[in-house]
């Protein structure tokens, strides 16, 4: 038995070094990015067609798990590029001092906000939103409205999920000092709090809740991939908090040229036009008119909310305490 394992291990080790002649670009990203139906395989094929290199994706849970993984590896990490840290994580990521400036021209970005960060390069983004079935009557139009209603929602735990943390930030950005009251009011609307996005969205689809915390782009999946127009995102008057997913290159990369090429490649039209219908997010550098058919049906928030990376990092712990205190009763 142990021999089998050793043999397997050796085979794997040999097969991963056999291609050492071609340069290898190692990209760490979150798990759903590299799934067969995610953007990973298409991006890999397209990049390898031009780079004379071997692009190797490694999946590591979600954005937060990705950052934890990088911190564990530290300066010895063999990764060249980290793909998928959002703006709630980039401050902590920058503090590791493992990243170098991306060196890309950000003029082509089509984000609804101006982009300042020269370490992390956005590649896609979305607005957090509560998604519901169109049969839901009296859809809440704000957090106070939701808190007063008897609409049942399912959310994610900010301690184990990036959208869960996004919701904390959304309430902070929209209501600041009143966040405590908002959460106290929401407590009786919350059916349950799940470890991650998948479980929450699954519960919603099972009919366990009227609304689920997800993205304004979620209805596009149902419409485009399933031909199902019955899902919608509820526009909130306070505005919607953004999640911007970024790519960054590591200082210790042994392929800095390739890494930089890859970052530039992430903003090309070919990659950007793959993202909407594989990652189901808005591309970061594609004009609105180039979005796939169906995206025009999505809501556009009246107001865009986003903390800069430093503010997000500073408000995270107090916001978590408010959340815990309000919901632990």
């Amino acid at each position: 038995m142990r021999h089998t394992i050793l043999a397997t291990a050796l085979t794997l080790a040999v097969s991963s070094t056999a291609t050492a002649a071609t340069p290898v670009l190692s990209v760490y990203t979150y798990d759903s990015f590299v799934a067969d139906w995610g953007p990973g395989p298409q991006i890999e094929a397209m990049f390898e067609a031009t780079c004379a290199c071997d692009l190797q994706f490694t999946g590591a849970g979600d954005g937060a798990a990705l950052l934890a993984r990088l911190r564990l590896e530290g300066a010895r990490s063999t990764a060249d590029v980290i793909l998928g840290l959002d703006t709630n994580l980039t401050y902590a990521a920058a503090e590791t001092a493992l990243f170098v400036p991306h060196g890309q021209d950000t003029a082509a970005l089509t984000l609804p906000i101006a982009w300042q960060d020269d370490l992390f390069l956005p590649f896609d983004w979305g607005y957090f939103a509560f998604v519901h079935d169109t049969s839901l009557l009296a859809v809440p139009t704000s957090f106070p409205d939701l808190a007063e209603s008897d609409v049942r929602i399912v959310i994610q735990d900010p301690r184990s999920s990036t959208p869960g943390l996004g919701l904390l930030m959304w309430v902070e950005a929209a209501h600041g000092d009143a966040a405590t009251d908002i959460w106290a009011g929401l407590a009786d609307n919350i059916v349950t709090v799940t470890p991650g996005w998948s479980e929450a969205y699954g519960l919603f689809l099972e009919g366990e809740a009227d609304m689920v915390l997800s993205y304004t782009t979620s209805p596009a999946y149902h419409l485009i991939a399933e031909g199902d127009p019955t899902k919608a995102a509820a526009p909130f008057k306070e505005g919607h908090y953004m999640q911007i997913e970024t790519a960054g290159m590591l200082a210790n990369s042994d392929q800095p040229e390739l890494a930089r090429d890859f970052l530039a490649f992430m903003l090309t039209k070919s990659v950007q036009s793959v993202l909407p219908t594989t990652n189901w997010m808005y591309p970061a550098a594609l004009p609105e008119t180039a979005l796939p058919e169906g995206f025009e049906t999505l809501i556009t928030p009246g107001k865009v909310l986003l903390f800069d990376a430093e503010t997000a990092a500073a408000r995270r712990d107090p916001a978590l305490n408010i959340w815990l205190n309000a919901l632990s009763r």
């Binding site: 038995m1 080790a13 799934a35 190797q56 999946g59 470890p195 099972e206 366990e208 978590l320 919901l327």
Partner: protein, 521 residues
């Protein structure tokens, strides 16, 4: 067996070596994580709340699962009916399922829009609210009742057929049966059963969170998640991991103190006889009721999973089928490894009932998978690429994860075999391999088959450490299912869950029946 000076053999030495290795593999990562951190702070008030909730829900789940299992196992032990074997296999399914799959199965039946709520709505009652401590306990009972039933069923089957014949001849009533057979058997089996379920529930994460209803239901495992992902405080993660191990140690010692090793008497391995005392209409009716209720509780959610998964099964992406093949191979590897570790350890435990051995065997369910995976990563990283080793590491970890169950299944039977046949074997001078092959293994065949089945199915269904470091081409079936769930593909995920359910049941059944067919009794 202190009173019988059985010589120490190579098998016992191997058992000691395995136990030492297991302790090292389990505690090494914990130490590695602790050393990578920057010194631990004290235990926070919120940690005490997490510990309280963890112990409370685990204790409730363990006691309720065990209490409910006793009448069900007894009914199965003293009745024979068509389809009994298939029923026993199917009833084991919830224990073998990945947590998230089972939770969704439960929700189709007991959720707010589930079948029960729907029925209540028809008569004008409000829907069932499954979210809260009761929901967590309900799910844990759903998972662990099957395990408890099987452990007790083995207990009943270990009562020698000769004794039952004698009891029949003497006209034993139900009360006599209880006093002379069932009570001693339960005193031997029940503490260990409560313990093993308690330990499984202490590391509960997803169930406690999804069904717990909110941060009130924070377990120690969730606190570890927070320490890792939210605070990146490795010392704190290791400290919480050590708290889990301490809870495990205390529980193991407590259960050890409650076990009374009453010999069940010796027999000549004749087949069991039907219980004369249990043929009254009242007993028949109560057995039927216990079985029907359990079957409905355990099988309705499975039926829901079948209903949801079947339409998507044929259209599953190709990667899912490859993942299934990978998972099957992985399951076979980790099962062989688990058996190779468990048998020597069981031999040593029969020879030398030291609580530390039991504890070592239990460690792998008490240790946080997140701490284990991260620690293994830290240890391996300087010498090898953990991503390239993801599948072998998963095989080893899965084997270790099933070790506690294998020991719980094998150790009492090993002990019983030594007690009943040991003296004869000694007199015949049977030692080493001959003793193992002619005396012990034939008596352990049922348990070996069942244990191998459990190990294989658990390995199939466990998400395991592969989630922590995997490359796209290495996904196992549970991981692939999570990936489907994580990208809106709920229907395909349902199909993958059904495939997983079917494959787990098939491997379990093959091993379990294989073992029972070779059983001498």
């Amino acid at each position: 067996m202190a009173e019988r000076a059985q010589p120490i053999t190579a098998l016992h030495v191997a058992g000691g070596a395995v136990a030492g290795l297991v302790a090292l593999i389990m505690l090494g990562p914990l130490l590695a994580v602790a050393l990578a951190g920057e010194g631990a702070g004290g235990v926070r008030p919120s940690d005490w709340a997490a510990i309280r909730f963890t112990v409370l829900q685990a204790l409730l789940s363990a006691l309720i699962s065990t209490a409910l299992a006793i009448p069900v196992a007894r009914a199965l032990a003293r009745r024979s009916f068509a389809g009994r074997h298939v029923l026993i296999t199917l009833m084991g399914a919830p224990f073998l399922l990945p947590v998230i799959v089972a939770v969704f199965g439960l929700l189709v039946v007991f959720g707010r829009s589930g079948w029960v709520s729907h029925g209540l709505g028809l008569v004008g009652l409000p829907p069932l609210d499954i979210y809260g401590v009761h929901g967590v306990v309900l799910a844990h009972v759903f998972f662990n009742l099957p395990l408890a039933v099987r452990l007790f069923l083995h207990g009943w089957q270990e009562i020698p057929g000769e004794r039952m014949r004698l009891a029949t001849a003497l006209g034993f009533g139900l009360g006599d049966m209880r006093r002379h057979f069932e009570w001693p058997m339960l005193r031997r089996t029940a503490p260990g059963t409560v313990l093993v379920i308690f330990l499984i529930c202490t590391t509960s994460f997803a169930v406690a969170l999804i069904l717990g209803g909110g941060p009130y239901a924070t377990t120690v495992e969730l606190a570890i998640y927070q320490a890792f992902r939210f605070d990146f405080d490795l010392s704190r993660a290791a400290q919480l991991g050590a708290i889990q191990v301490a809870i495990c140690a205390l529980a193991t010692l407590a259960a050890g103190a409650l076990v009374i090793r009453v010999p069940l008497g010796q027999g000549l391995d004749r087949p069991p006889v039907p219980w004369q005392a249990a043929q009254g209409p009242l007993t028949r009716a109560s057995d039927a009721a216990a079985l029907t209720a359990t079957v409905l509780f355990l099988l309705l959610p499975l039926l829901a999973l079948v209903g949801k998964g079947l339409p998507a099964l044929w259209g599953l992406p190709e990667s899912v089928w490859w993942a299934a093949l990978r998972s099957l191979t992985l399951a076979l590897c980790s099962t062989s490894l688990a058996l190779a570790m468990a048998l020597p350890m069981a031999a040593l435990m029969a020879r030398w009932p030291w609580p530390g051995l039991e504890l070592t065997g239990m460690l792998s369910i008490a240790i946080s998978p997140l701490v284990l995976g991260t620690g293994a990563f830290l240890i391996l990283r300087p010498v090898a690429n953990p991503v390239a080793l993801a599948l072998p590491i998963t095989a080893v970890v899965n084997a270790l994860m099933s070790l506690p169950f294998l020991l719980r299944i094998l150790a009492p039977a090993y002990d019983q075999a030594e007690r009943t046949q040991g003296r004869l074997a000694d007199a015949l001078g049977l030692r080493g391999a001959a003793r193992l092959c002619h005396v012990i293994l034939p008596r352990l065949s049922r348990q070996l088959g069942f244990g191998a089945g459990v190990a294989a199915a658990l390995s199939m269904g466990d998400l395991g450490v592969i989630a922590l470091f995997s490359s796209p081409a290495q996904g196992t079936l549970p991981l692939e299912m999570y990936r489907l769930m994580g990208s809106y593909r709920t229907d395909d995920a349902g199909g993958a869950a059904l495939l997983l359910l079917v494959l787990s049941l098939v491997v379990f059944r093959v091993f379990d029946r294989g073992g029972a067919r070779h059983a001498v009794a």
